[in-house]
Assembly symmetry: C2
Homo-oligomer: 439 residues x 2
C-alpha cells in the first residue's frame, strides 16, 4: 500500500485556516472602529472552524486558481450531477407556467406542505408502515430541518452522534448551545460520540454508550456508506426505549440501499414512540439545487411530561418556516408517480455504478474500502496516515477533490470519503488517476 | 360610528382556544402512556397560543364548515392573489426544463444565493447605496431569515419590537429564549415594547424607550401600514448608534411605498454600521408560494468585541440552510430585469388600487383609517371595542375574514388589520358588505 513520505506532506493547517475571515476582521476593526454593544453569541464563538463543505468548496477554488489548466475532478461534496428526468422537470415547468394564470395561481401553501405531496410521501416511502400524511412535514431539505429540530429541542437536551457523522448535527448543536466546550481533539464536552468503524461493523457499542436525550443516527451513513442492518437498528431502538431517548434518524440516502437493510427506522417495531425521521429528495431525485425534503414526527413521540413532540414541531414549522417552494413540491409529487419513480430509480442506479467503479479502484491498489454498496459514498482506509495529508496529496498529485475523514469527526482520521456523484467519464478518469497514484 | 351592542359579542376566547392541540394531547397521553425522558423545551412552553396566521386560517376553515353556502372573502392573511407576470414564470419554467439537460443541470448552488441574483438585488433595490453583492444573502423568505437571525444572536441579547408588530419577531424570540415570561396582558418580561399608534404618528417615543441590543423595525409596517418618514428613521438610526444597538429592519413591503419615505434603512446615513435589512419577493412579485427573499448584512456591523456580524451570519446560512430553490432564484432574477420589474410593478399598483377602495370604504362609514397609502394593509380604529369581538362580528355578519389588531400585540387592541390582497371583484363585494354592516 502507498505510504506518503513525510517530507512531501502539505500541512492541512494551511488549508483549513479561515484566511478570509481573519483578514476582513482585522481590516474592519482598523478601518471602522465603531462597534455596537451587542455581544457576540458565545455559541457561535465555539464554532472554531468553518462548516466543512464550504471549506471544501474553497479548497476547490484555490486549487483551480493554482492550477488553471488542470482538469480538476470533484469526488468531494456529494452533489448530484445528472439531469433530472423530464417527467419531473416538465411537471415543475407546468406548475411555474400555471402561476401566470388566474386558475393556476397559488399563494402561501400550508406550512407543513401540500396535502397531496404529504400523502404521496407517506404512501410511497412508508409502504405498509402506519405513517399518516399528517405526520409528514415537507421541508426545503434535510439540512434546514436538522436546525429546526434543534430549535425545537433547545439547549437543555443532551445529544449523541455517530463518530464520524454528517457535520450539521454537531454544528447545529453547538449553535443552539447543547455542545459544551471543544477539547483539543475536536470533541465537544457535552456531546456523546459513538465510535463507528470497521472494528464494530460501523455500529456503536451501546453497552458503553452513555444515555443522551437525542441520538442522531444516519443510515445509509454519510460519510462511511454503511447501511445499518435490521439487527443493528433493533438494538438502537431498544436502546432508545430503555433510555427514554429520541432518535433523529437521517434516511437521506435510503433510496441507495440495494440489500434488505431497513430504509426507514419505522420498519423497526417500537420506533414510532422514539424516532423522528428526516429525509430528502436531494440525492433521490437530483434535487440538491431544487431543495425539497421532509421530516416525519409520529404522534406517539412524547416528551417526559407527556406532551406530543409533533405539536411543538408543527409550531416551529409554522413560525420559523413558511413551506417549501410550491414549484419544488410539484416536482416532488411527480417523482412519486409510478413513471417518475421509475425514472429517478435510474439516476440512483447510475451513481451506484460509479460507486462500484470507485470501490474496485481503491480495492485494486490494496486499500481497504467500505461503503459504496448501499450508499453513494466510499470510505477508504489509509492506516497510519493523517486524512488531511492524504486529501491534500490526492489533490496535488491527481487533481481530485476528496473529503478528509477527520472533517466528519475524530474517528474519521485515517479515512477519506469519496463521493460517487459525477459524470461517468469523470469517474473513469478519476479511477485511472487514482490507480496511477496509489499503485 | 357603529358600536356593537355588548350582548351580540362572541367571545374571542372561543376562537383562540387551541382546541386541536389540547384534545390530541389528552387522547395520546391516555392512549399511549409511553413517554420518553426528553424534557420539553421550556421556551416552547412559553408560547401560549398558536402562531397567529395559522390560527386565522383555522378560523377561516371553521367558518366555511359553519356556513358552507356563504361567500367568504378573506382580507385576513396578506396573501397575494394575482397571477405572476409571464416573463417571470417562463423564466422559472425554462430553468426547470433545463434541469433535464446535461448543460442546464445544476446541483447545490452557493448557500448565499447565486452570484447573478445577489448582484441584481444589490443593484436594483439599493441603487446609489453602497451595498455589495457579497453583503446580500438570498433566502427562502423573510420569515425563515428572522429565525436564522435569532439563531445568530442567541439567547443572551435583549430585543425591542414595535407594538403592534409582525408576530414572528416575538415568537422567534420566545423560541430562542430571549423573551422572559409573559404577563397577563400578553407582554413578555424581557422584551421592550415600543408603542406605535396614531398618538405618535406610529413612531415610538425613543426618549422613554429602554436600550435593547436588537431593535426589530418594520416599514412600511405590518400591521399598521405606516411607512416611517425619513426623519423618523434618522431618529431610529441615531438611537441605535447612541445605544450600540443593531436594528433588524424589515422592508418586505418597500415596493408599496408611493411617496418619498425611505425604501431601505441604508438610505439613512450611519445605518451601515447598525442595521441588518430583511426583505422579500413575496409581496413584491407574488412569490408567497414560490419562496424567495434576502437579507443584507453590511460588513461594518460589528459585535461589541469587534467581530463582524456578517461572518457569523454566513456561517449560519452555510450550516443551517442550503440556499433557496434554484428555480425560485431564476424567477427572482427575471423580476429584476427591466421588463420584469415593470411587470411586477403593475401587480403592486393593482393591490394599491384595492387598498384605496378599502380605505374609502371605512372612511365613508366614519371610521378612522390608517395605512393603505404606502402599504397593502389598512389599520382601522374601533375606539372602545375589543378587536377580537369586532373581527368575529365582521366574520359572522359579513362573512369577511380580518385580523384582530391585538393579535399583533397589546397596542393593536381596538384595531383591525385589513389586507388589500384579493381579486378586485372580491374587494368591491367586501366594500359593499362592510358599508352595509357599518352604516
Amino acid at each position: 500500500m502507498y505510504k506518503f513520505p513525510a517530507s512531501t506532506l502539505v500541512s492541512h493547517a494551511i488549508i483549513l485556516q479561515p484566511v478570509i475571515v481573519q483578514a476582513s476582521f482585522k481590516t474592519q476593526k482598523d478601518l471602522l472602529g465603531c462597534r455596537t454593544k451587542v455581544p457576540r453569541n458565545v455559541n457561535m464563538e465555539k464554532l472554531r472552524n468553518g462548516y466543512l463543505f464550504p471549506e471544501i468548496s474553497r479548497l476547490e477554488v484555490q486549487h483551480i486558481e493554482k492550477y488553471p489548466n488542470a482538469k480538476l475532478i470533484s469526488l468531494g461534496i456529494g452533489d448530484t450531477t445528472e439531469p433530472v428526468p423530464q417527467i419531473i422537470t416538465s411537471s415543475m415547468a407546468n406548475y411555474a407556467h400555471a402561476l401566470s394564470t388566474v386558475d393556476g395561481y397559488t399563494g402561501y401553501g400550508p406550512e407543513q406542505g401540500n396535502k397531496a405531496l404529504r400523502k404521496a410521501i407517506a404512501k410511497e416511502f412508508y409502504k405498509d408502515l402506519p405513517i399518516k400524511d399528517t405526520e409528514v412535514f415537507v421541508s426545503d431539505g434535510a439540512q434546514s430541518d436538522i436546525t429546526r429540530l434543534q430549535l425545537l429541542l433547545g439547549s437543555n437536551v443532551t445529544i449523541a452522534v455517530q463518530d464520524p457523522s454528517f457535520p450539521a448535527y454537531i454544528d447545529s448543536s453547538v449553535i443552539i448551545g447543547q455542545a459544551g466546550v471543544e477539547d483539543e481533539a475536536g470533541r465537544y464536552g457535552s456531546i456523546e460520540y459513538m465510535k463507528c468503524g470497521p472494528h464494530n461493523n460501523f455500529f456503536p457499542d451501546l453497552a458503553t454508550t452513555s444515555r443522551a436525550d437525542i441520538i442522531f443516527f444516519c443510515s445509509p451513513n454519510n460519510p462511511t456508506g454503511h447501511a445499518a442492518t435490521r439487527k443493528q437498528l433493533e438494538q438502537l431502538v431498544n436502546f432508545a426505549r430503555e433510555n427514554g431517548s429520541i432518535i433523529i434518524f437521517d434516511s437521506a440516502y435510503s433510496s441507495y440501499i440495494k440489500d434488505d437493510s431497513p430504509r426507514s427506522i419505522y420498519e423497526i417495531p417500537g420506533a414510532r414512540e422514539v424516532a423522528i425521521e428526516i429525509s430528502s429528495f436531494s440525492k433521490f431525485a437530483g434535487f440538491t439545487g431544487v431543495r425539497l425534503g421532509w421530516t416525519v414526527v409520529p404522534e406517539e413521540v412524547l416528551y417526559s411530561n407527556g406532551f406530543p413532540v409533533i405539536h411543538d414541531f408543527n409550531r416551529i414549522v409554522c413560525t420559523c418556516f413558511n413551506g417549501a417552494s410550491n414549484i419544488a413540491q410539484a416536482g416532488g409529487l411527480a417523482c412519486l408517480s409510478s413513471e417518475g419513480f421509475l425514472a429517478v430509480r435510474s439516476l440512483v442506479d447510475y451513481y451506484m455504478e460509479n460507486a462500484k467503479i470507485l470501490v474496485e479502484t481503491f480495492a485494486s491498489v490494496g486499500l481497504k474500502v467500505y461503503g459504496g454498496t448501499n450508499a453513494p459514498y466510499i470510505w477508504v482506509h489509509f492506516p497510519g496516515s493523517n486524512s488531511w495529508d492524504v486529501c491534500t496529496k490526492v489533490l496535488e498529485k491527481a487533481h481530485i477533490i476528496t473529503i478528509p475523514g477527520s472533517g466528519f469527526g475524530p474517528s474519521g482520521e485515517e479515512f477519506l470519503r469519496i463521493s460517487a456523484f459525477g459524470h461517468r467519464e469523470s469517474i473513469r478518469e478519476a479511477s485511472s488517476r487514482l490507480k496511477s497514484l496509489f499503485l
